[in-house]
Amino acid sequence: MMLPRFWRKIKYRYDIVGTVCETCGSKYYPPRNFCPICRRKSKMKEVNFGDKGEVVSYTVVHDTPEEYRMMKPYIVALIKLDGGPTITSQVVCDESEIHIGMRVKKAFRKYFEDGEDGIIYYGTKFVPES
């Protein structure tokens, strides 16, 4: 059960909302309270990084954790968002479609649940752009 930890970040999981440091312009997703470059000189502002990006690298996961057993195999990818930062997420598409450089767009999906009576963890995944 990770209720408060999940709830605290709902806004940033349900949509691609991160932060930008207004002092140096660096963009961060997931959001940070503190810019690692500017440290105490940071001035963080929340920003929505848009809905599209490009696959930088990917893998098809066969040995899955317990909560993802039904989804096996699924695709995990590093996606460079058009908005700037690189995000780790799942891509929902056929194994034959995924490739480095593929254009993707965001989709609101269910990640996993806390068993049959626990809460449902939603978040942002990606699907092919076309």
Binding site: R5, P36, V60, H62, D63, P65, Y121
Partner: protein
């Protein structure tokens, strides 16, 4: 960064590594510790401080305060000896080694012990994997199903794409380490495998197969460190730690500057070479953290043995074989020895020490300078240690 004292390893010990059903955590630690003390010729009470590398006593054993547990069980709590547990995922052992090194190098302590231990089989295997998974970014990598193998697979995929490294190259690393493991009586796996065995083993996270991944194992290791003056009272062949450096990097792989490079390894190793006043060519034997075969290939590059992207050449040309010019993982590495998480960093120190003493039996290589690389998780922590006969 000047050390006040020169630091030497005067004793080494190691339990078996593997699925040790009939041995508990306390026993394996004791086994490693006693062996190291006897190897050093100490009585035991000479040890002034204990540094323990252990990733997750809390989740594997529901036991925190591991430092106290080990001090107690080893008899040193009776003497009030200070004991500290250090955690850095599977670099915990390397971190413990470094803390022990700093204690002696600073002149504060004369003789200390650095140990590493982990007992992973007392929980169900899904739990074992999940606990190891907490070495990555739980909130933003673990949450989306990016397991540790998946994160290394992302690095491998890009390494393949950019530099032409292949699955066969990765398989050859596993084959080499298994071959070396046959010669190591304390290795978990002592049988040779072929490239086809690796490629035919089930996929874990493409392109990594089961045999590209080191198994998580039970095990404990210990080394005793002393300053030079004390060391020479106990042994005729002290092995000196010429440098022991550490560096960090962003936790989540997505935040690394270039995911095919481990910045932490580059930073720690360049500093280590500077402190030891050597360059990569001077290294004769290496223990590399091959939690995944791709990690070994990337380490060849990040440790400066070859330029970025050319790591696969070393394995293809047999350079890192036991009989090659730069033997890597003569012990069998994590793949064949087993990866007892917190114990690994110390086990690597044990191996290099045996090699430099000329006591490595059938897997002995010709060496005067050695290096060990212990990595935490997907590279957010790296510890590099340079060892020499003088």
């Amino acid at each position: 960064m000047i050390a006040v004292e020169k630091v030497a390893i005067i004793g080494v010990g190691q339990s078996e590594f593997g699925e040790l059903w009939d041995k508990g955590f306390r026993e394996i630690v004791l086994k490693a510790g006693i062996e190291a003390i006897e190897d050093a010729g100490l009585e035991g009470k000479e040890i002034e401080a204990m540094y323990i590398g252990n990733m997750s006593g809390g989740r594997y054993l529901a036991q925190e305060h591991i430092s106290a547990l080990i001090a107690d069980y080893s008899g040193l709590a009776e003497l009030g000896t200070p004991s500290t547990r250090i955690e850095g995922a599977d670099a915990s052992g390397g971190l413990a080694l470094r803390q022990a090194y700093l204690a002696v190098a600073s002149g504060i302590h004369d003789i200390v012990i650095a140990a590493g231990a982990e007992k992973v089989t007392d929980v169900a295997s899904e739990m074992t994997t999940d606990i190891m998974a907490s070495s990555a970014d739980r909130e933003w990598e673990g949450f989306v199903g990016a397991t540790i193998p998946a994160l290394f697979a992302l690095m491998a995929k890009l390494h393949f794409e950019r530099y032409g490294t292949t699955s066969e190259d990765l398989a050859m690393v596993s084959v080499k380490n298994h071959k070396n493991g046959v010669l190591n009586p304390k290795a978990q796996f002592r049988r040779e495998i072929r490239v086809e065995d690796v490629l035919n083993s089930p996929l874990v996270a493409e392109p990594l197969h089961l045999l590209d991944c080191a198994p998580l194992s039970d095990g404990a290791s210990a080394v005793i460190l002393a300053n030079e003056k004390i060391a020479r009272e106990y042994t005729d062949n002290p092995v000196f730690i010429r440098a022991c450096t550490q560096a960090s990097d962003y936790l989540a792989v997505q935040n690394r500057r270039d995911i095919t490079t481990m910045e932490s390894v580059r930073k720690a190793s360049s500093l280590a070479y500077r402190m030891a006043k050597i360059s990569p060519e001077d290294v004769d034997v290496v223990e590399i953290h091959d939690s995944f075969t791709i990690a070994e290939i990337m380490a060849y590059e990040d440790l400066g043995f070859v330029e970025k992207g050319k790591g696969a050449e070393l394995i293809r040309e047999g350079i890192t074989e036991l009989t090659g010019p730069l033997p890597v993982n003569p012990s069998g590495g994590l793949k064949a020895c087993g990866h007892a998480i917190g114990a690994t960093g110390i086990r690597q120190a044990v191996e290099i020490t045996l090699q430099l003493r000329g006591m490595a039996g059938k897997r002995q290589v010709d060496c005067e300078t050695g290096l060990s690389l212990n990595i935490g998780g997907t590279g957010a922590t790296a510890v590099v240690t340079v060892y020499g006969v003088r």
